[in-house]
């Protein structure tokens, strides 16, 4: 829509002001476990500031249902004690909340500079070809959603891919199709994980972030 005949306004989807009505969805209520988690989280904030728990509450709802429906947002609004519009306001701002169903594996390819310099654009192309979908789409079986995201904060391990909450690092374009095949057969075991995290937990060797296989970080 444009207010000026010669000026094409930016498509609304580029802006955080995007507003489409969420699908109503079936009845939604936290599972008892999620209710307990929410009740605990809310105690982190002063009693009159329940709204601070809204992101946490939305993560719980999304985790339970895969994506956020209007019914889920209404439930969150009740939990927080705010209006459904306020919840929607938040949901539409942050990129990690989904308002439509997504695949079992949401593949987030970092496309920002450091990753792009090492082939992230090619990674997206290869993944796109292997899955037969464009970025932003979900494959017909509902297994994979492909998304391009901005810097994930691990630029030394470029190109980086985040799949749901798991990480896969140093994904060369040539390995991209194989990664998809591996996920199909091995599931989450196909991911390298966050390099740092793995070492922290397993204490595996003294490699820092700063190596391409040779030499150690100082």
């Amino acid at each position: 829509m444009s207010f000026h005949p010669r000026m094409e306004y930016a498509p609304a989807k580029f802006h955080k002001s995007e507003r489409t009505l969420a699908e109503q969805g079936g009845d939604f209520k936290y599972t008892p476990e999620n209710q307990a988690k929410f009740d605990e989280n809310v105690t982190h904030y002063p009693p009159e500031q329940r709204k601070s728990a809204i992101l946490f509450a939305l993560y719980l709802a999304q985790g339970q249902q895969g994506y956020l429906t209007a019914a889920a947002m209404q439930h969150v609004a009740q939990q927080i004690g705010c209006t459904a519009a306020e919840v929607e306001d938040v949901v539409t701002y942050y990129t990690m909340f989904y308002r439509t169903p997504v695949g079992k594996y949401v593949i987030n390819v970092c496309r920002t500079l450091s990753c792009a310099l090492l082939g992230a654009e090619r990674v997206t192309e290869e993944l796109s070809a292997a899955l037969g979908i464009k970025p932003g789409e979900t494959d017909p079986t509902g297994t994979f959603t492909l998304v391009e995201v901005e810097c994930l904060g691990a630029c030394d391990r470029a190109p980086v891919v985040m799949v749901n909450d798991e990480w896969h690092e140093r994904l060369a374009p040539e390995q991209s199709a194989k990664l998809i095949a591996d996920i199909r057969t091995k599931g989450a075991a196909a991911f390298t994980g966050c390099h740092l995290n793995k070492e922290a937990q397993q204490g595996a060797g003294a490699r820092g972030t700063g190596d391409r296989g040779k030499g150690d970080r100082t």
Binding site: K51, C82, S114, E125, G153, D156, L196, G208, T209, R217
Partner: protein, 437 residues
């Protein structure tokens, strides 16, 4: 004398993130113990004397920031630790939280004591879920061991530290946007003043500090402000983490004093070890994507806040993005403007609309459909963003355009003349995806 690492000395040891390792190797929580024997004002004085400057981007003196936190008010006070780390090219807080989380936890507790707060929130970006899990588990251990919670070391001081997960928004790193997000709203900045030190979280006095900044605090308390300020050049003291990525042999996080030069960081074996495949360097972005580029002949300067500023750029978050001569300057600006358009919070018009227009123009030029007048337009749109926005994001967004236009204007012109990209590197998309999304 070789530089002795203090923030990251043990991070490569197995289990470096555990409380046991922290106590064994790093005199864990002795800084807090010592701090609690001092008066809060004395701690602020020590941090001031150390000259510690914020590691989040602006380099503002931390002691001063703490001093500004309003004291004479019945309202509670807060520390908000900025762990949003979303500036492209920056990944140092990631390493600290994952490999040395107790240093941050201790820093949070000392910070709280210094400003009279009882609660610190660590606002961590949603994508760092694996980091959050480590952090939460270690906080739990700190509580159990009596380093957090009620009446710490019998001093009567209570302190709680909570992790708050963001949900994907670069702008949440801006301090007032972070506060808004913590309050359960969109991460859009507030008009300043009032500054957070007066009216921050829940309109209470608040200090927002970067992860690396807070990690330095226990070191200052333990080793003294003089030790800290002597580490590195004047006004740029203390240890510094550098994030080096791009076309270098050994990308990673490196700790050094700020008398180290950019050239050493990029070429020295102790650091990134030189350019990948020995291809010549085209330029470096020294402080995260928001700062001006520096050319290969500008590298013999100390990588300090003041040194880099003198050279015409900024140290920012110390995220060095290095790239070789296969990179097209227009493509580079386009890549970064895609980021800024995507992340603009939309609150003010010059930034919201301007980033979109800049990206469109850059895509047009990169596709080979640019016209000579587009260069003036790029310049004009950029200058209508700079200095006219609510937060520093606007200036940051215009920087890649202004900086590449200044240094590589010939490339822009060549694109327009040739009607095509003049440097289409093999690592870029095979099919022009630009404009697809």
């Amino acid at each position: 004398m070789a530089y002795q690492r203090v923030l990251t000395q043990y991070i490569n040891e197995p289990g470096s993130y555990t409380l046991d390792s922290y106590l064994k190797h790093q005199r864990g929580y002795e800084g807090l113990r010592k701090a609690l024997t001092l008066k809060p004002g004395e701690i602020i004085d020590q941090v001031k004397a150390s000259g510690l400057r914020g590691r989040g981007g602006a380099g503002f003196p931390t002691g001063m920031k703490w001093q500004f936190v309003l004291k004479d008010t019945p309202k509670p006070k807060y520390i908000c630790c900025n762990a949003d780390e979303s500036e492209p090219g920056t990944f140092k807080d990631h390493v600290l939280m994952e490999r040395n989380p107790h240093l941050l936890i201790e820093g949070c507790a000392i910070g709280c004591y210094a400003i009279g707060a009882k609660v610190a929130y660590i606002y961590i970006r949603g994508e760092f879920y694996h980091v959050q899990q480590i952090l939460e588990a270690e906080i739990e251990k700190a509580y159990k061991a009596g380093y957090l919670g009620k009446n710490i070391f019998g001093s009567g001081f209570d302190c709680d530290v909570y992790v708050h997960r963001g949900a994907g928004a670069y702008e949440a790193g801006e301090e007032t946007a972070l506060i808004e997000s913590l309050e359960g709203k969109r991460a859009q900045p507030r008009i300043k003043p009032p500054f957070p030190a007066v009216a921050g979280l829940y309109q209470c006095p608040t200090a927002v500090n970067n992860v690396e900044t807070l990690c330095n605090v226990p070191l200052i308390i333990m080793n003294g402000p003089e030790w800290f300020s002597k580490l590195g050049p004047e006004k740029n003291g203390g240890p510094k983490l550098y994030c080096i990525s791009g076309h270098v042999k050994k990308p990673g996080v490196y700790e050094a004093a700020m008398d180290t030069t950019l050239r050493e960081l990029i070429y020295d074996e102790r650091f990134a070890g030189g350019m990948m495949d020995e291809r010549p360097m085209k330029a470096v972005i020294p402080g995260g994507s928001s700062v001006p580029l520096l050319l290969p002949d500008q590298l013999d300067i100390p990588a300090s806040f003041d040194g880099v500023q003198k050279a015409g750029s900024l140290l920012g978050s110390a995220g060095l993005i290095v790239f070789n001569d296969s990179v097209c300057a227009v493509w580079l600006a386009m890549n970064l403007l895609h980021f800024y358009r995507h992340e603009s919070c939309g609150k003010c018009t010059p930034c919201r609309e301007g980033t979109d227009w800049l990206l469109k123009l850059l895509m047009r030029i990169e596709r080979g459909e640019g016209q000579p007048k587009d260069l003036d337009l790029l310049f004009g749109v950029s200058n209508n963003i700079v200095g006219k926005t609510l937060c520093a994001f606007g200036d940051a967004a215009a920087t890649p355009v202004l900086s590449t236009m200044k240094l590589f204007r010939d490339e822009y012109e060549a694109h327009i003349r040739a009607g095509a990209c003049t440097l289409p590197a093999p690592w870029r998309a095979k099919h022009a995806m630009a404009g697809a999304h």
